[in-house]
């Protein structure tokens, strides 16, 4: 479903801030794979996801989604294939617009937009239904401005919007990192439900090793712009946080030290 070949990216090339963010990354995701991505700060997790989404142009390498080479497609054209949820709950929704308007926009991802009226009463009923399944109490607030929602509600809404039109690939960039633990658990639960119901191919970055182990069928660990560990299936199920920490120092020769990760244990 996703094939990344020899992907490299260097930021601020030729300046004193030069940073090699990705070095010859290769990754192949099967349809239905749910891969969690872990790694320290600056490991290249977010860069990898953003390159797939088309936020920055690639230096070298190719990205193929479901057989389509998207390497040079601009972000808005790639959106046709991708559902995205961001770390910042503000980023995935248009906060000054209503819930139903946000959903109407998301329902046309990858389609041509015309001078048809933005929302019909059937769509409204359909959106109400979708929201009701979430149990967040949003189904009767379709004409509420998104700015009045909490971070968790926004992330749930963004998740729904990202999957209203079945994406080839769902990209979750630490989408629970800005939430309190209880809300984060709710949103993760919802993520699992949506992914399994739609059988979505998913990449989820997380700082929480427990979550990385508990969710998905595959786990990759990144360091220094490279994938240093890739585990799937039964082997992944048996992983523990201790295993991961050990693996990291083994492969990298240093401790995987990061406040957020330690706290997340």
């Amino acid at each position: 479903m996703l094939t990344i070949k020899n992907l490299s990216k260097t930021f601020n090339k030729g300046t004193i801030n030069e940073k090699q963010a990705l070095t010859n990354v290769n990754l192949e995701l099967e349809a239905g794979d749910f891969v969690t991505v872990i790694g320290g700060n600056g490991a290249g997790k977010s860069t990898l996801l953003n390159m797939v989404a088309g936020v920055f142009p690639v230096d070298s390498g190719t990205i193929t989604v479901d057989g389509v080479d998207v390497t040079t497609l601009p972000e808005h054209k790639r959106a046709k294939y991708l559902g995205r949820v961001f770390q910042d709950p503000m980023m995935g929704t248009a906060s000054t617009m209503w819930i139903e308007e946000n959903m109407a926009i998301a329902s046309r991802r990858g389609l041509t937009r015309s001078l048809r009226w933005g929302i019909s009463s059937e769509q409204r009923a359909e959106y109400m239904n979708m929201l009701a399944q979430f149990g967040l109490g949003l189904e009767n607030r379709l004409s509420t401005s998104v700015s009045l929602l909490s971070g968790g509600q926004r992330q749930a809404l963004t998740l729904l919007m990202a999957t209203m039109r079945q994406p080839k690939l769902l990209l979750l960039d630490e989408h629970t990192a800005a939430l309190d633990p209880k809300t984060a658990a709710t949103v993760l639960d919802l993520t699992d439900k949506i992914v399994s119901r739609n059988n979505l191919t998913t990449m989820m970055i997380t700082h929480n090793m427990k979550d990385a182990i508990a969710h998905g069928n595959r786990l990759i660990m990144m360091n220094n712009g490279q994938i240093i560990f890739d585990v799937k299936g039964e082997e992944k199920k048996k992983l523990t946080v201790e295993d991961l920490l050990k693996k990291f120092s083994e492969l990298n020769g240093e401790e995987m030290v990061n406040d957020r990760m330690l706290l997340a244990k």
Partner: protein, 303 residues
């Protein structure tokens, strides 16, 4: 006082015409969240094209259409400067505005101004018949608001609003934000040129300087409308109407201070101060409410 009351209808007529201009400013400033300074040029372009076309024998409505299209082209140029040349929106607008000065002079045949007399040509409205002018301007404004209300409710209109609200979200949902920005600038400058064409008929001439400070008047109208009517006017069409009311209030106040003895040369200074104060009001309100203990926002913190 009597003099003030006598000049009130004229102020209302001018206020409505500038209110149309404010709708154009609303599109860029409120919907796309960018300050577009090209309107100072495209307002005069609208007036210049109208006067030149009408005096050249064109039907006034066709001339109005031509003026509007000329404004659209000006907006297109600003949009291309901004999205294809990577020039910040404000600077892109200033460049267009500057270039338009020369173009407007050419449209006016090298003169700084050109008259179009209501006695020689059939015009939409004229200040010789102020009540009639108010009615025509009001009808035109209501139609424009209706069209805008429809457009910004469509799929394309929605994508413009999303672009202004959150570009990341817009792109992640497949919206070409460069295209929507250019489209917004085209629409905005078209509306502004349209209002310039209406004003030229009302006052009976176009002047190459008639747009100087137009952005400030447009902003004043938008902001006055928002500060005064923001609480009661929630609907999009009503918000546009609020901008037009803002324009009327601005001109009524202007007429009042002129009657009270303000030197006409100080008008621009007065406008600048009014806009600065009204722009500051929401900011100050915010600061004050942040200092008070949070009470109202319980709804936004619950999960």
């Amino acid at each position: 006082m009597i003099a003030f009351l006598n000049s009130l209808p004229g102020a209302v007529a001018q206020g409505i015409i500038w209110g149309i201009m404010a709708i154009g400013v609303y599109v860029t400033f409120k919907i796309l969240d960018m300050a577009d300074l090209s309107v100072d040029g495209s307002f005069a372009t609208g007036g210049a094209v109208l006067v030149t076309c009408v005096t050249g024998g064109m039907n006034v409505w066709v001339a109005v259409l031509a003026a509007t299209l000329a404004g659209c082209i000006a907006g297109l140029v600003t949009g291309i400067f901004h999205t294809k040349f990577g020039i910040p929106a404000i600077l892109a607008g200033i460049l267009t505005q500057l270039g338009l000065y020369s173009i407007n002079l050419r449209i006016l045949g090298g003169q700084a101004n050109k008259t179009v007399s209501a006695s020689n040509y059939k015009l939409m409205l004229t200040l010789r018949n102020i009540p009639g002018a108010i009615i025509v301007a009001a009808i035109v404004t209501l139609i424009l608001i209706g069209v805008c209300y429809f457009f910004f409710g469509t799929e394309i209109g929605e994508s413009l609003r999303a672009t202004g609200a959150n570009q990341h979200m817009a792109r992640a949902n497949g919206i070409n934000t460069d295209f929507t920005k250019v489209l917004g600038l085209v629409i905005s400058n078209g509306i502004v040129a349209f209002s310039g064409a209406v004003l030229a008929q009302y006052q009976g001439f176009a002047d190459v300087n008639m747009g100087r400070g137009a952005i400030v008047i447009g902003l004043a109208a938008v902001i006055i409308g928002e500060v005064i009517f923001g609480k009661i006017f929630k609907n999009f069409a009503l918000r546009l109407l609020a901008a037009v009311f803002g324009g009327i209030i601005y001109y009524v106040v202007l007429t009042l201070v002129l009657r009270m003895g303000l030197n006409a040369n100080d008008l621009k200074l007065f406008s600048a101060i009014v806009v600065a104060v009204f722009l500051g009001v929401p900011f100050w309100k915010n600061k004050i409410s942040q200092k008070l203990p949070a009470r109202k926002n319980e709804d936004s913190t619950e999960q």
